[in-house]
Symmetry: C2
């Protein structure tokens, strides 16, 4: 089987979710487990871009990396670019302890694609919402506490999550762009 693009990650939950989404667009996604250097930066774009360049330099294949972050307004954007570290340490229980009445948050996703040294294409999307008062279920990441605007349940309890999420919206942009590019090259 030949893959269109390789997804670089050490998080198998994320790969499974991403693979499910892009396969619906007709993309064949391989998984590459690489230990990537991650920079500390204020925005996801810089982190994703840096990781994609690093990944391509290691494997010389077309790669995407995804960086997502939960930005909570009353906490000055915390945990933001460090969402993964914060999830692994204080977790959803920690986030709930930190909040009182102000619970607005934005979930962002950035996809960085690299198939040629030094050239990176970025695709981003964000979904506004609020942090719930308690955890719903035990699903990976902040899904059990993030309720997207217009819904009354968190991601973890929404059957349609993978058709409305920040990650879906960013992957949709990338997939459409990639498939158009592939078509043009095929002509």
């Amino acid at each position: 089987m030949s893959y269109d693009v390789f997804f670089v990650s050490s998080n198998k939950h994320k790969f499974e979710e991403v693979e499910k989404i892009v396969s619906k667009f007709g993309l064949k996604l391989g998984l590459l487990k690489l230990h990537l250097q991650e920079i500390q930066a204020g925005d996801l774009e810089d982190i994703a871009k840096h990781k994609a360049i690093h990944a391509f330099s290691l494997c010389s294949k077309p790669v995407i990396v995804e960086d997502a972050g939960l930005f909570i307004k009353s906490l000055h954007g915390f945990p933001g670019p460090y969402s993964s570290y914060v999830f692994d340490t204080i977790g959803n229980d920690g986030i709930l302890k930190l909040l009182d009445v102000k619970r607005d948050a934005i979930f962002k996703s950035v996809i960085a694609y690299c198939e040629r040294s030094g050239v990176v294409h970025l695709f981003g999307a964000s979904v506004s919402g609020i942090i719930s008062r308690k955890k719903y279920g035990t699903k990976w990441g902040f899904d059990p506490i993030f309720i997207p605007r217009g819904k009354n349940k968190p991601y973890s309890k929404l059957a349609e999550k993978n058709q409305i999420s920040h990650r879906y919206l960013a992957l949709e942009k990338f997939s459409n762009w990639y498939l158009n590019k592939k078509k043009s090259n095929d002509l």
Copy 2:
């Protein structure tokens, strides 16, 4: 005035504290404000090393960088290498909200010195203690909530802080090593 070493930082509080400490050892410390790329890594050593190499590549002068982190045991080491970001977002009030009875913590400091491409010398120290039940004063960083073992007040209220802190102990190691090296070269 000629400097022995340049301290690379964008945090003037930190520079003032470090300068006060090393001047007692007889070291002349200059300040270089550079925007350094910071990696996300599990340990301070890797972050400091990477920053020192980057700083030297930008200025070609003998440089030190310092990376410090507060590692809280019951929070799996949080905020650890992301202490500065966590201080800027959830602050000391956030840390206090996250804790209950288990309050053990370690404050670590790592100094990385680079005066030649690719060669980095590391000097580290740590101080054990507990997180106080409330904030004491408004001093910069986690000083208002960290009580070193054997003391009954946090760093912010200890007149002798700069003779006992994790930062002092790491700088003492570096200064002794540097002055010995200088002496040997002078002979």
